[in-house]
């Protein structure tokens, strides 16, 4: 029996595709990485995933899990063909357990849908990616994502209590449990978070949730110098204030955001900091005033504090889509996600901003810079004519310089988007001998290398 027939024994034909054009749609995510699968299958249960993995194992063919395909590093792109599992049908919330401060979800659930469901209960799931409206929780967990509020609330790692994982031999394991902490054995949950589908396929997740803060305020501070905005970030932290978000936007990002939502009308300036504080009303008012004062001390002009929810929502919605919106600024150029996710120590932010400016000048390519400055995670954005091979060459050199500059400053090539295959070449440089440990773990758990091969810097 051929592989297709075996898969058809597990899921109905309506949930399998081998049509060339349909497979072509699965040949990329939001990155520039390409690779076409031989089969796309849409499982709806853990048992189906397990059986399909067993087929892949038996025939030694690659198997790659995919959520919404919003990844920015090719993590869900099947570089070696094989089976892509589209997990979007497994999108249920199985349990909301407020008493134990947790939820049980399937991996295909859209991030924003979880928070919309939790809101009436007065709770939320804090990791807050820009792609909240479209990314899946499985993808977020597998890439150890975070987002705008990680400066205060941490990354997804801090919220995963337990994962259900289909291992490379088809066995189904649980990595944790319902308890809020555990000192029992190796931390397999932490191992699976960020493993990008190279060790197993996540089919369920028990996640910690957090009470919604009583209120929020957003401080908007405008700067005539980008580095001054960078310096302000660490100055705010030094004052002992922990904002719930601290976003930096340079002049190009501001133009992109204004072009996406003209109502915002952000002043034309070199940089803007958008700093959110949350908590009880009395502390929010006091913290917002202190943040505003700090911004003014470091040279900000036109510093305003917004308390109105609709106003803040609109601003955050536009900020979330800033990365894609840059394409609107020049009709002939398209944003390409490459070199877009470096993170550096907070104290190195001003230096990194200078590096980025120098790299931009050196290659003659405009680089927009924005991101979660509060945790040192800077997103850079470059737009080129994607039909021009020479511009691609310049783009790749520019991204390479950005990655290497971040590593020189004791940073990382990925703060939250993952390594995929786009950043694999930097893994030895960043991790040194630790890569051998990662390689050993991979070899031990997936000796035939069927789980998302050629990712995370592994073969």
């Amino acid at each position: 029996m051929d592989i297709l027939a075996k898969i058809q024994n597990i899921v109905p034909p309506s949930r399998i595709s081998i049509d060339p054009a349909e497979l072509y749609c699965y040949s990329s995510d939001a990155s520039y990485i390409k690779g076409t699968p031989d089969y796309v299958v849409m499982p709806s249960t853990t048992a189906e995933v397990s059986e399909i993995v067993k087929i892949a194992q038996k025939h030694r063919i690659p198997i790659v899990a995919r959520g919404a395909g919003t990844g920015l590093a090719g993590g869900a792109v099947p570089l070696c063909g094989g089976i892509v599992l589209d997990m979007s049908r497994m999108n249920r919330i199985l349990d909301i357990d407020i008493r134990n401060l947790q939820v049980l979800v399937e991996p295909g659930l859209i991030h924003a849908d979880l928070n919309r469901t939790l809101e009436p209960h007065g709770f939320f799931f804090p990791p807050d990616p820009g792609s909240s409206e479209m990314c899946t929780l499985g993808g977020l967990i597998a890439n150890r994502g975070s987002g705008m509020r990680s400066v205060k609330y941490g990354t997804v790692t801090d919220y995963v209590l337990d994962l259900e994982v289909v291992m490379p031999d088809g066995a189904v394991i649980r990595t944790g449990g319902m308890v809020m902490k555990s000192a029992s054995g190796y931390d397999l949950t932490a191992l699976m978070v960020g493993s990008e589908g190279t060790l197993g396929i996540i089919t369920g997740a028990r996640l910690k949730i957090h009470p919604l803060p009583e209120t929020q305020a957003a401080v908007m501070a405008h700067f005539n110098e980008l580095e001054a905005a960078g310096r302000t970030v660490s100055a705010i932290m030094e004052k002992g204030i922990v904002p719930s978000a601290c976003e930096l936007m340079d002049s190009t990002t501001i133009k992109a955001v204004n072009s996406y939502d003209a109502n915002l009308n952000i002043p034309d300036c070199e940089a803007m900091l958008l700093i959110e504080v949350d908590g009880a009303l009395c502390s929010v008012e006091s913290d917002a005033a202190r943040v505003a004062e700090c911004c003014r001390e470091l040279g900000a002009f036109d510093v305003t504090i917004a308390y109105s929810e609709p106003e803040m929502k609109e601003l955050w919605a536009a900020r979330r889509l800033a990365g894609a919106a840059v394409t609107r600024l020049n009709p002939g150029k398209t944003r390409v996600y490459i070199g877009e996710d470096i993170a550096v120590p907070l104290s190195a932010i001003p230096e990194m901003l200078i590096e980025i400016r120098n790299i931009s000048d050196r290659h003659g390519l405009n680089i927009m810079t924005y991101g979660h400055a509060g945790d040192g995670n800077l997103h850079t954005g470059m737009a080129i004519d994607t039909l021009d091979d020479e511009q691609w060459e310049v783009l790749e050199k520019t991204a390479d310089d950005i990655h290497r500059a971040a590593l020189r400053l004791n940073g990382t090539v990925s703060g939250e988007h993952g390594i995929g295959s786009a950043r694999g070449i930097y893994m030895n440089l960043e991790h040194g001998c630790a890569m051998e440990v990662m390689s050993s773990i991979k070899q031990a758990l997936d000796p035939h290398n069927i789980m998302n091969p050629m990712k995370v810097g592994l073969e």
Binding site: A21, E22, S88, R89, E133, G323, A325, T327, T334
Partner: protein, 346 residues
């Protein structure tokens, strides 16, 4: 398709359209949504051979425009999808339902293939467009929802609005499905000129967008716009019913006509907004040839829309017979705007 490459590459594949595309909401597959269609169009432009999957997925777009209005990078997947439809037809890949639509219109001048006269719904004297305003009834109202056509005309004739001598399909079904509508455009344009029309009034969102997009030399008004400016001349009484309003995609999201129908409705009865409305309104699933080619999918999208209907209302009012038809088929009580107004006219 190569000429569309600059538009195709505007898509940064961020996936924003995934959660708003009504087809993808129902089918989940990557290839069922706008991003998948952009990808397939890229393939088509780069030498990927058309396959059964490509043809089907390019044709399942309801042309609801939601991907266009939501796209952060300013891409227009709908324009690209339409171009891909035309390309596939040009390459000889027209499907049986596309060919059937072509035949129906060629043989009968209407999208239903109905061989009877188009104007049997006219009960009284027929006025030609001396006022310069002409009512274009459209195929569905002329043949399937004659009470809508009658109601519309009974309202409009008070304002001296006339009819065409020989109205034929506006061409929207052909154009949306990737087929040639030029003969119909020419025919109807000639009719408008001969009637001395300066303004065409339509009760169908599909006709409205077709006239706005593909016809030249005439103003176009939807019935709701025409009436919203003349409410005081209509002697309307208040009816004791509560209704919500479904924004047809080709009227609302495509042309921003949100206020006029609401103004008319609020004048005559109690109005409650849908849970998602205006630019966020759900698609009924009927447009783009999807109802004809993929009826099960079309019905599933309409079923999804029912989740948006507020509790306790008597009717869903709409201003497009295609939306009327698709929603009615789910068991929802639907009322065309014209019929609502006629109920309220003293």
């Amino acid at each position: 398709m190569r000429e569309y490459l600059p538009e195709i590459v505007k898509c940064v594949r961020c996936g924003r359209c995934r959660t708003v595309c009504p087809v993808q909401q129902v089918q989940s597959w990557e290839f069922a949504g706008a991003r998948g269609r952009m990808q397939m169009a890229m393939g088509l432009a780069s030498g990927l051979e058309p396959s059964a999957g490509m043809i089907k997925n390019i044709l399942t777009c309801t042309t609801c425009q939601r991907c266009v209005t939501e796209c952060p990078s300013g891409a227009d997947p709908q324009q690209v999808t339409r171009a891909a439809r035309h390309k596939l037809v040009a390459l000889g890949h027209a499907t049986p339902h596309q060919l059937e639509m072509q035949e129906r219109i060629r043989n009968t001048g209407n999208s239903l293939g109905d061989e009877s006269a188009r104007t049997t719904w006219i009960t009284g004297p027929r006025v030609l467009g001396e006022s310069g305003y002409v009512y274009f009834a459209g195929c569905l109202a002329s043949y399937r929802y004659q009470s809508t056509a009658t109601a519309t005309y009974r309202i409009l004739e008070k304002f001296g609005v006339g009819l065409l001598e020989d109205e034929q399909c506006c061409g929207s079904p052909l154009f949306r499905m990737g087929l040639d509508a030029s003969e119909l455009i020419e025919h109807n344009s000639r009719q408008f000129r001969e009637a001395g029309a300066h303004t065409i009034i339509v009760g169908c969102a599909g006709c409205y967008s077709m006239f706005r997009e593909r016809y030249n030399g005439f103003d176009v008004l939807h019935l709701s716009e025409f009436l919203a400016d003349r409410l005081d001349e209509l002697s309307l009484s208040h009816i004791d019913i509560s209704v919500t309003y479904h924004d047809p995609c080709h009227l609302g999201r495509t042309y921003g006509i949100y206020d006029a129908p609401r103004k008319v409705i609020e004048k005559v009865c109690t109005f409650v907004e849908m849970k998602a409305s205006k630019e966020n309104a759900s698609c009924c699933g009927g447009g783009g040839g999807v109802r004809m080619g993929y009826p099960a999918l079309s019905g599933s999208i309409a079923e999804e829309l029912k989740n948006n209907i507020p509790d306790g209302i008597d009717y869903v009012v709409t201003s497009c017979p295609l939306c009327f038809r698709n929603l009615s088929d789910t068991g929802v009580k639907v009322l065309d705007l014209a019929e609502l107004v006629l109920m309220a006219m003293k």
